[in-house]
């Protein structure tokens, strides 16, 4: 009988902290190769179709940007939350509410046209996401509820609310009963960046601007300092005069607004109307993006492009090899698993202990110091 224990390392290796995402990526590749082999596909062919072909032409790079934009937008917001040790898991719901709020204008006031429509929609989208994120923030500060649970559960509420909207009050009367809203008018569609080359729209620009702005805030501004202090040592933060409740609202509203912006950009740019399902899990995949990017906004841009590729690759293997596009989810799951695994092993080493050799007293004393490591 063996027992596995994680023992804290006295020092963490700076080299492996940098290498960790790359090692995780390599391990994902190896596990992916095993998976393809088990499915009866030559792993090299599959990798070619999954990772190389989807980005071999310019228009495909545009598709990559379309997929990466919401991931990056959401993930930079989440990175601020996670740095503050506040766990917003509900970006998917905030994304949906951003899309719903932003769609109020094109769905309910389709006659309203002109250059003001898009800015107003984007603004409303951010308000919607922030509003929806304020619910778990309020519950946490007022009733000390666990924000992981509340923000996650609100995702399902948002999904069902959207589903009801597009089947009920917002359904297109001329839509032959399909559960969707009317097509947005031209002035409610987010313009494409280079219409001649591909479909990529302004959403990708928003993502890059947000990443740079958040990076600036976190590394250069007092606000970012406040986030880092409260996240790493809340008591020192209170001594500094920074309020934890204010921080809960700040991070939730900020990440909610960015998720909402991603939501309305996706609907207005890539889809053009509201449907029962508007996201292939961007809000959850963005959590992986945030950690793969090491909670650094610039790292998140790179990580967002990698994860966007897993979506495109999933579609590609489905059409070329007849493998379910759920394979994309598998890749994303493995990547998160290996990233978290590598990060854990930077801080801890594994120790195997034979049960028979253990003295009960010794085991108890050894176990005690680990309680303090929860972060």
């Amino acid at each position: 009988m063996m027992r596995i224990e994680l023992v804290k390392r006295p020092q963490r290796s700076a080299l492996f902290s940098v290498l960790s995402p790359f090692i995780a990526f390599a391990l994902t590749m190896i596990a992916g190769a095993v998976m393809f082999a088990l499915l009866g596909v030559n792993p090299l062919d599959a990798f070619n179709i999954y990772f190389i072909q989807p980005v071999s032409e310019v228009w495909q790079l545009h598709e990559l940007a379309i997929k990466a934009a919401p991931l990056i937008l959401i993930a930079v917001g989440l990175s601020v939350c996670y740095k503050a040790n506040i766990w917003n898991i509900g970006a998917e719901g905030q994304f949906i509410f951003g899309a719903i709020f932003g769609s109020i204008i094109p769905v309910l006031f389709p006659q309203f046209e002109g250059p003001l429509v898009i800015p107003l929609m984007l603004l409303l989208g951010m308000v919607g996401g922030a509003f929806y994120a304020s619910i778990p923030a309020f519950l946490k500060t007022r009733f000390s509820t666990n924000e992981i649970l509340t923000s996650l559960m609100l995702v399902y509420v948002a999904q069902l609310f959207l589903d009801w909207l597009v089947r009920g009050p917002w359904r297109d009367p001329q839509g032959h009963g399909f559960p969707q809203t009317i097509q947005f008018s031209d002035s409610a569609v987010l313009p494409e960046l280079m219409p001649d080359a591909g479909r990529a729209n302004w959403g990708f620009v928003f993502a890059l601007v947000a990443a740079v702005a958040i990076w600036l805030m976190m590394s250069r501004m007092l606000k970012g300092f406040e986030v880092r202090v409260l996240g790493s040592s809340p008591r020192a933060g209170r001594f500094a005069g920074f309020g934890l409740n204010r921080m809960v609202f700040f991070t939730f509203l900020l990440s909610g607004a960015l998720a909402g912006l991603a939501g309305i950009s996706e609907v207005s740019g890539a889809i053009g109307q509201l449907q029962p399902v508007i996201s292939p899990g961007y809000g959850f995949t963005a959590i992986i993006v945030a950690f793969l990017g090491r909670l650094n906004p610039l790292g998140i841009v790179a990580a967002g492009l990698v994860l966007a590729l897993t979506y495109l690759g999933g579609e590609a293997v489905q059409s070329a090899l007849g493998i379910s596009d759920k394979v994309a989810r598998v890749f994303q799951g493995m990547l998160l698993f290996f990233v978290l695994g590598c990060d854990t092993l930077i801080h801890y080493r594994i120790r195997l202990i034979g049960m028979a050799l253990m003295k009960p007293n010794a085991a108890k004393l050894d176990a005690a110091p680990k309680l303090e490591e929860a972060r």
Binding site: P10, Q11, R220, M221, L222, K223, F225, R228, V229, S232, S233, R235, A236, G237, R238, F239, A240, G241, G243, K359, P360, N361, A362, K364, L365, D366, A368
Partner: protein
């Protein structure tokens, strides 16, 4: 002396060495403990005392060296092995569950399956026979620190150890409680048990210890009979040089100086089931004076500090007044802007963020008071201004460090404390409130911090020092008040204060009636 009847060594340590990275915490330590002696282990903080003891108790593995127990070579690979050999330890920081009874806590560590009632009966019998009365059925959360220490000692004695290691046992006791403990230790010695007594309090080492081993920078610098040494000669051995005495010029004209900090009827309900409520605290600190607050740890000092600093706000805005204005409803930032500065007890995690650089930790407490100097338009931090201010403090307080701007956690306790105190002194605050200014700080740094606090007061500021170290308070203060169970006594002017009077108040004599309770005692 009873130590003479058997000189064969119970424990012998030869060349014990422990290396952490580039630091040799223990460097070829030799140590003999005879049967039936109280052996002192002396040394400043960071001298390697704790590392040595951890190796003897099996919680650290030595890099090299040998340990002989009763003449036989042994390897102490875990605390379980140490206990089996007959080594017991009473830690400086207690490891008790507050929500459990004393007997339940003891049962947890014995872990031998005997019923709680049996353990309670044994503990009760043992505690009375050693003159450490203890009710095994009382909740730990309701007990004083001295009583909690008794549980630790009884728990240790129940395992019938031959060698008992005590780590700074009197740091949490009143002078009277310490006397009680010494009686118990002498009783244990007369039964032939050996005691390794770790302390930096030289007077008590002189009083009860038969031999002493002195450590400095991880090396043994001497063995001696403490009874033949003076406190000064022991201090020289520990520090390696003369420690400059703190000079305190008499404070003049205090009575007429303006009151800079006034606490009026400060009352606070306990925030958690085991927190201490504050009861109607009144105190005035005037410009130019240092007031000390003595008290055994856990009598409300932490709660008091939080209330005065503004980390916790008061219902009654007038209960804390700074420079003549109500501050009770202001946050810690608001109170800082009125000219107050604060140094909390805990350095890492409260006074400083461990994983942040010193310059960032400067910003921690001064981002608002020095907002113009450190934060530019749009909330951008002026890194170069913060960096050069941090360097100024480092130079002024002689902070020793390994890098230009290291993380707070990379500094030794004493050096970090010098930085944290210096960070506030650099502002020239008109009100300074310090909780445990030199806890765990080496003698040289402590003297420097104390001198700086006195100079701040004499230059016209009001200084309030909360400390468990009576020697420190007598060195620093113009008057000493005592906190006990959430109440604060009237301050005794230093000329009238004695260890006995303060000790009685610490033990719970009626606040403000020290004379009366002295008569009873």
């Amino acid at each position: 002396m009873s130590a003479n009847h058997d000189r064969s060594n119970l424990l012998e340590v030869r060349g014990l060495t422990k290396i952490f990275g580039t630091l040799t915490a223990c460097d070829h330590i030799d140590l003999n403990i005879a049967k039936g002696e109280i052996h002192a282990l002396l040394g400043e903080n960071g001298a390697g005392k704790s590392t040595l003891v951890k190796m003897l108790f099996g919680s650290l593995e030595p890099n090299s060296g040998e340990i002989f127990w009763d003449g036989k070579a042994v390897k102490i690979t875990s605390p379980g092995v140490a206990k089996k050999l007959g080594i017991g330890m009473v830690f400086q920081h207690f490891s008790l569950f507050e929500a459990l009874t004393a007997a339940e806590n003891i049962a947890l560590s014995l872990n031998d399956g005997s019923p709680i009632s049996t353990i309670a009966a044994k503990a009760r019998a043992l505690s009375f026979s050693y003159g450490l009365p203890l009710d095994p059925d009382s909740l730990v959360g309701d007990l004083s620190v001295g009583e909690r220490q008794r549980i630790e000692i009884i728990r240790c004695l129940l395992q019938t150890p031959q060698l008992i290691i005590l780590d700074e046992p009197t740091s949490v006791l009143t002078p009277q409680e310490a006397d009680k403990l010494f009686e118990t230790l002498e009783r244990l010695r007369s039964e032939g048990k050996s005691i390794l007594y770790i302390s930096h309090r030289l007077e008590e080492v002189k009083r009860i210890c038969d031999r002493a081993t002195v450590l400095r920078h991880g090396k043994v610098v001497g063995h001696c009979n403490p009874r033949e040494e003076t406190a000064a000669s022991l201090a020289r051995m520990m520090v390696g040089s003369e420690v400059k005495a703190v000079e305190r010029a008499p404070a003049e004209g205090i009575e007429t100086a303006p009151a800079l900090l006034e606490i009026r009827g400060l009352t606070r309900k306990p925030a958690t089931p085991f927190a201490i409520p504050l009861k109607n605290i009144n105190l005035t600190v005037r410009a130019g004076e240092v007031i000390g607050i003595a008290g055994v740890a856990g009598n409300g000092q932490g709660e008091f500090f939080e209330s005065v600093s503004g980390e916790v706000l008061q219902q009654d805005a007038g209960s804390v007044r700074i420079r003549g204005k109500d501050a009770g409803a202001l946050s810690i930032t608001g109170r800082r802007l009125m000219g107050a500065a604060f140094v909390p007890e805990e350095r890492l995690g409260h006074g400083a963020a461990p994983r942040m650089k010193l310059s960032e930790n400067l910003l921690l407490s001064r981002h608002a008071t020095d907002g113009k100097a450190f934060v530019g338009s749009g909330g951008m931090v002026k890194n170069s201004a913060v960096y050069s201010a941090a360097q100024r403090i480092i130079t002024a307080m002689d902070v020793r460090k390994s890098a230009p701007d290291p993380e707070a956690a990379a500094l030794s306790g004493g050096n970090l404390q010098k930085f944290i105190v210096g960070r506030e002194l650099d502002r020239k605050p008109s009100v300074m409130i310090v909780n445990q200014p030199t806890w765990g700080v080496d003698a040289g740094a402590a003297a420097r911090i104390r001198q700086a606090l006195i100079e701040l007061a004499r230059s016209g500021s009001a200084v309030l020092v909360i400390s468990q170290d009576l020697d420190e308070l007598f060195e620093l203060s113009d008057a000493i008040a005592v906190m006990h169970n959430g109440e604060l006594s009237a301050p005794l002017p230093i000329a009238e204060a004695t260890f006995e009077k303060i000790g009685l108040l610490m033990g719970g004599a009626e606040p403000g009636h020290a004379e009366h309770s002295l008569e009873i005692a």
